[in-house]
């Protein structure tokens, strides 16, 4: 199964199991979404359970909050993460706050899905990774899968969650794993073990990271597309790196992270988002708070630059295996 099919399957399972689950967004109904993540749902569940929304991201989130307050469980799509900003107020000031400010009188179990990240020549408005503007907001959960199995399991967990979840889908992984070698032939999920998505409603719990590669010398913290890039960089650089796929940024599996860094004594953090105040800064802070006395070298961040995501120079921006590999070597040299 591709990640798209896995996401579709998660919707199907959730909608089939609970008629409070409603799905909408721009082009989400008849057409099934520009990435086709919701294809077939309208036909199967009817127009009032899966439908097209007006192009108004703020309204999509705002109505979802109202629906959640009523008792439904809306799962909504923002067409690209780059277009979530108009909805930021409804997310931050309303969805994230509702349970707390009303002391549970009203709650907001919504899932806000959005394709994130670059690597598709989408330029500055189809490539952004805005996770850090959500992880800064108390009351939200932030989830990002890196493969079809996790995509389905984490989406099911997010839909089941009683609180608002930002669900980021690395669009470069929709159709196959991608290690950053953009000049090599594409591979698909069909041939990948994590393309074998279990049937049914098996969830992957939020807040649990996964060690995707064992290693002794340095810990690499990554999520989304960067998981493959990190694995590839480890392989290619010959550094015995342990790669952790965070899967959920908030809540964060600090235990797994700290255990690994305490073991390796070194840490490299990789993300595609711009550097300053990115989620990497938080990771770096937590690691130094938890593991200061174990650190043998400065933690290194490998990130997107503090510029808009460029169109033509995409691969100079993307933190590919060469840059991550260099960081691995550097952290070993210190």
């Amino acid at each position: 199964m591709t990640m798209i099919e896995a996401i579709r399957d998660a919707h199907d399972v959730a909608m089939g199991g609970d008629n409070r689950v409603v799905v909408y967004g721009e082009d989400v109904g008849f057409f099934g979404g520009v990435f086709r993540c919701t294809a077939g749902l309208q036909e199967k569940y009817g127009r009032s359970r899966c439908f097209d929304a007006p192009i108004n991201e703020s309204g999509i989130v705002g109505t979802a909050i109202g629906m959640a307050a009523y008792g439904l469980k809306p799962v909504i799509e923002i067409q690209f993460a780059d277009y979530v900003y108009p909805a930021y107020d409804q997310i931050v000031s309303e969805a994230a706050r509702l349970r707390h400010r009303s002391n549970g009188d009203f709650t907001c179990p919504i899932v806000i899905r959005m394709p994130t990240g670059g690597g598709i020549f989408g330029g500055q408005t189809h490539s952004q990774s805005p996770e850090a503007i959500f992880t800064h907001v108390s009351g939200l959960k932030v989830v990002i899968p890196s493969n079809p199995v996790d995509a389905k399991g984490l989406l099911l967990a997010s839909i089941a969650d009683p609180d608002p979840v930002i669900f980021l889908e690395p669009k470069r992984l929709y159709n196959g794993p991608f290690d950053g070698h953009h000049d090599r032939p594409l591979t698909t999920w069909k041939k990948h073990a994590l393309g074998a998505v279990p049937e049914g409603d098996e969830i992957v719990p939020l807040g649990k990271a996964k060690i995707t590669r064992d290693g002794a010398d340095v810990t690499v913290l990554a999520y989304g597309t960067m998981v493959y890039v990190a694995e590839t960089a480890a392989k290619e650089s010959g550094v015995d790196a342990e790669v952790i796929d965070l899967r959920s940024l908030l809540p964060l599996d600090l235990e797994t992270i700290a255990a690994s860094v305490k073991k390796t004594g070194r840490c490299v953090i990789v993300h595609e988002a711009t550097r300053t105040c990115g989620f990497g800064a938080e990771l770096m802070s937590l690691v130094q708070e938890e593991c200061f006395y174990s650190l043998e070298a400065p933690i290194i961040r490998v990130t997107g630059w503090d510029t808009p995501y460029p169109h033509a120079q995409e691969w100079q921006y993307f933190p590919g295996p060469a840059r991550v590999g260099e960081a691995l070597k550097q952290v070993m040299e210190e």
């Binding site: 109202g66 107020d89 309303e94 349970r99 707390h100 009303s102 002391n103 600090l254």
Partner: protein, 411 residues
């Protein structure tokens, strides 16, 4: 004639009356009570376009209820309504004073606008949901929400149902059809539409009511609400309370130079009505009409209540800096309590004596409750909510990082 080369200038609307000026409402067109007909609830929005430019009024200046929109309420209903408004006003006065005495940080009253929320509440059914602003406390009073709970919230004391988390008056009361008030203007308007859509998706028969101020109609959430409400024919009543002012800014800055707030509905094909917000009977009748329309699946109605914010914006505000002190008194639609009182007297169902007695009873009730609340605590004095409560309820289950922080904080 082409204008090429001719210098342009910026038009910045200004109210006619600022401090020192004499208020003059002669240009403000007020139709006679009873002049606007009551259309059937299934009327096409476009066929009542003129209603967005007129004002539905029931009580005439002699206190009589006249025209099509009269007759929806019995004398008992009216006395109940009068009591609600009087209670709200007394409650407001006491709480504003408590704020001045330092018993809490902040207060906002409904002075002059009591008819709107009090009458509207009585047009809904149990299970319907309001998405109010901070100026609709009357929805709670008229739904018999306990005043003691309101005061505990205002005082942020140990019995505050919101555990001190929220500023005064930002109530939440789901069981009383009252959505948690946000400090951010406008957001609730589109949420009300979502709630109404959810009711329709669920095959329920409940309706929602969104609330917004004149100034806040400028917020983008207003547009989102109108777009979603009209596209999905949501069962919602969308209420604009035009009390002429948004803090120091007169309504012309939000409204532009022409038209009315109600007319904003026309671009969306939404039925739009203007009503005398200081006329309890008119408010109730129009609210009933719109609620019925929503419940029958006929879609949203946009209602503009024409009223006047007789007090300051909040306890932090001094209106004498930006508007004439005479303006509240000159407001041509009068006072909602006085008008309902006169009506009841004119139909022989009330008297000055009964009114004075009711006033005294209400004051005594409010004072009693106030003492109970203050016995628990006021802000910073007496029994307070726990600091631990700040960490609770951010999520249903406290995640590890918050547990750590709570421990660091020592709670």
């Amino acid at each position: 004639m082409s204008g090429v080369g001719k210098p342009l200038t910026l038009n910045v609307p200004e109210p006619e009356c600022r401090p020192g000026d004499t208020p003059d409402f002669t240009d403000f067109e007020i139709p006679r009570a009873g002049a606007v007909a009551r259309p059937p609830v299934d009327v096409a929005a476009d066929d009542i376009r003129d209603m967005a430019f007129s004002i539905v009024r029931v009580l005439n200046k002699d206190g009589q209820a006249v025209g099509d929109w009269a007759g929806s309420l019995t004398p008992d209903d009216l006395r109940t309504g009068l009591r609600h408004m009087m209670t709200l006003r007394t409650f407001d006065a006491r709480m504003l004073n408590a704020q001045r005495q330092g018993k809490t940080s902040f207060y906002m009253q409904s002075l002059g606008e009591e008819a709107i929320s009090c009458a509207f509440a009585r047009a809904l059914e149990p299970g319907d949901m309001n998405f109010p602003t901070y100026r609709q406390a009357g929805l709670l009073i008229a739904a018999d929400y306990p005043m003691l709970t309101m005061m505990n919230q205002i005082y942020s004391n140990a019995h505050d149902p919101l555990h001190g988390r929220q500023m005064p008056i930002l109530y939440s009361a789901k069981a009383h059809g009252f959505f948690s008030i946000s400090g951010n203007l406008g957001t609730q308007f589109v949420q009300s539409v979502g709630w109404a859509m959810a009711s329709a998706i669920s095959g329920d028969s409940k309706i929602a009511a969104g609330w917004i101020g004149d100034g806040s109609t400028a917020e983008n959430d207003f547009h989102a609400a109108m777009v979603f409400a009209s596209t999905y024919t949501a069962p919602v009543v969308l209420n604009i309370v035009n009390n002429q002012w948004a803090i120091s800014t007169f309504q012309g800055i939000a409204r532009g130079g022409v038209g009315t707030f109600a007319a904003r509905g026309h671009g969306f094909g939404v039925a739009s009505i203007r009503v005398d917000g200081n006329d309890y009977l008119a408010v109730h009748a129009v609210a009933k009409w719109a609620a019925e329309r929503a419940r029958l699946g006929l879609g949203p109605t946009l209602i503009e209540y024409v009223t006047y914010r007789a007090g300051g914006h909040s306890s932090s505000d001094d209106p004498s800096a930006y508007r004439s002190g005479e303006e509240p008194g000159a407001w041509p639609l009068g006072d909602p309590i006085d008008r309902l009182k006169q009506h009841l007297i004119s139909i022989g169902e009330w008297s000055d004596e009964r009114h004075a007695q009711a006033d005294a009873e209400i004051l005594s009730d409010v004072v009693t409750v106030q003492k109970q609340a203050e016995a628990v605590g006021t802000l910073g004095d007496g029994k307070a909510p726990s600091p631990r409560d700040v960490f609770e309820g951010v999520y249903e289950t406290m995640p590890p990082h918050l547990i750590r922080q709570r421990q660091m904080a020592g709670y």
